[in-house]
Symmetry: C2
Subunit: 376 residues, 2 copies
């Protein structure tokens, strides 16, 4: 049986789903000769480690208890009462993870699995890469800080996986990497990479006022608590930056042209959420409605997309033919169109749910399993 030791960083929605998936796939993976050994789990406050790091992992009962504790909003440190594990507090945890990384990285191997939403963790990941660890990320932030950080993380490209940073579990990164390694030049990527903005744009296409659509989306739980976190386009820009960088563009966030769906004077530091949802949003209705109508008069629709082409990397509203994969998009699915030499007239299209803890965690798990050939 091949053992893949891992430490999970971040046990919120995605992390908890991952632990559930790992436990429920035990018999499947065992048939493939694989054992995913969870040596530790941590959140922002505590790190829990298996007693015998070299040979055993945390018991499945502890992993499921972790999910229960986190979904109840409790602290991981409660796990100390539960069985064979050791608890470390926040100040110790990064140092402890690096100790284990040095110990296991060069012998049995270790995967650091980053399902957090933290920027701080990039230092730990970089040092872990240095000592031979693999890194799997659902967290976009380590890949969207400086170009130096990005290149450091990709020192050994085969040891890094990050499918779930773009389009959740959709096989976007895996497919792009296949295209890249076959030498097929990517001429253009255009994608709708926000389920929220996909929903918003297809609803305004039907003639509904933007304000009403956003308010409905918020009450359906489709948006962040402050919908400006979606409408500002920063999340899409992060995904665009990751795509551009894996295509070899050495660019930073400030090279990306980002169109926000709200003006500067409605920014969070100038207007409360309530004000924005009330009078703010209503002020935006007319302009969007006019753009929708102008597009429709040409047989087009508006989509909030990222476009990567030549040296250009843009995020914002584009007019697209109603009869293209992006133009036909309805609801909250993500769509990515990739144009290459092999896919020149008609793009390679990948479409499906691009959000959700279940599918995001499934993408992370597939990444971990795909690292197996690097383990002894």
């Amino acid at each position: 049986m091949k053992s893949i030791p891992l430490i999970l960083i971040g046990c919120g929605g995605v992390g908890s789903h991952l632990l559930h998936h790992i436990v429920s796939c035990r018999s499947l993976h065992s048939k493939q000769g694989l054992w995913l050994r969870v040596a530790g789990v941590c959140d922002s406050k505590s790190l829990i480690l298996a007693e015998d790091l070299l040979n055993k992992g945390l018991d499945d009962s502890i992993l499921l208890e972790t999910c229960r504790i986190k979904s109840a909003g409790l602290s991981l440190s409660k796990l100390g009462d539960f069985g064979e594990c050791r608890v470390f507090n926040h100040t110790e945890s990064h140092g402890k993870i690096l100790d284990i990384a040095s110990q296991l990285g060069k012998t049995t191997g270790l995967v650091l699995v980053d399902c957090s939403a933290s920027s701080d963790i990039v230092e730990v990941l970089k040092q872990a890469v240095d000592v031979g660890c693999c890194v799997v990320m659902a967290n976009k932030k380590p890949l969207t800080s400086s170009m130096e950080d990005f290149e450091k993380l990709f020192t050994y490209p085969r040891r890094i996986r990050h499918e779930s940073t773009v389009g959740a579990g959709l096989p976007v990164i895996a497919s792009l990497n296949r295209i890249i390694s076959s030498g097929d030049p990517v001429n253009r990527i255009i994608g709708s990479l926000s389920g929220t903005l996909g929903y918003v744009m297809s609803e305004v296409e039907d003639g509904k006022p933007l304000s009403q659509v956003v308010r409905a989306a918020k009450s359906l739980g489709y948006t962040e608590p402050d919908p400006r976190d979606d409408l500002g386009g920063m999340d899409v820009a992060r995904k665009a930056l990751i795509l551009a960088r894996i295509l070899g563009r050495r660019i930073n966030m400030d090279s990306i042209q980002i169109e926000s769906l709200y003006p500067k004077e409605m920014a969070p530091d100038l207007m409360t959420v309530e004000d924005f949802l009330g009078r703010g949003l209503s002020l935006l209705d007319k302009d969007i409605q006019e753009r929708v109508e102008k597009a429709a008069s040409k047989g087009n629709v508006l989509r909030y997309v990222c476009v990567i082409e030549d040296s250009k990397c843009e995020v914002g509203i584009q007019e697209l033919p109603k009869n293209s994969p992006l133009g036909r998009l309805r609801g909250s699915d993500n769509v990515v169109e990739v144009y290459t030499r092999c896919y020149s007239d008609q793009p390679l299209v990948i479409q499906g749910a691009g959000a959700g803890n279940d599918t995001t965690a499934a993408g992370v798990l597939a990444d971990i399993v795909d690292l197996q050939d690097l383990f002894p």
Copy 2:
């Protein structure tokens, strides 16, 4: 530099494109620390081997000359005059390949790359698997013969790649394998996996008679020389069988229900191609036209698809909603819809060119590169 030694079996359209891709990717792969070392190439008549099998490959000049010779319809044995290589004839070649497989399989590793369309090669591939070789296939036949052959080839699943057996270079198999390894249960696959039949069905949808569409497709070079090779559905059935088997179904070709677009009395042994293209096809127009109209009256369209669901594996015409990814399909693109727990209401959709030597060879090359972690 990591060296991946390989022997190419079959240097027709796909094989020649692969050799071209390998040569033109030299600098790209070298940046990734990879060297694809072509130890040998063979067609149905000859095998050409590098002189120093352990350390060198055939020169790039020989690889390009191979492409030139094959596209001129000449025999590979001509390469003997060209440089440092050895030529073997048909009777020796399989034995010689197995000698090398035993020699390299357990030491530096060896990839057998099957771009032929031959059924005979399966015995060689099975024995090569036994001695530790990797196998990459564009050839569907080794995976669609007996279940025993299939299971033997998959003795070490990580050493087998076959992306280009379904949808050419489209990332169908890679995506399915990710879904499988994450434990996300596949409930249903429905796909249009023949560019020819995709084109035919979207043309008859527009009201054109089947006979006219097939004759046009043939003159455009979209069909096999005898269009019944496409219209019979056997090629789609082979792809369906491969998909069903990687989902774990232990079935054979005779378990697949195949709907042929022509009746038994027009089979090749009873009717010449000319007769079929003339009076035969015209006799089929009315029935298809009625089915198209009946479907249209319900807002549906006809598509020639494979459906894999529960224990069912079927290939034939289905009525599908005009407003589904398959219903919207136009022209010769392939589309695959995959329904799983994560993609339950809306499927994961992969769409794009599913034929062509360039994209098929690109898929094979990506498969080879993806084996790199298995090499020392």
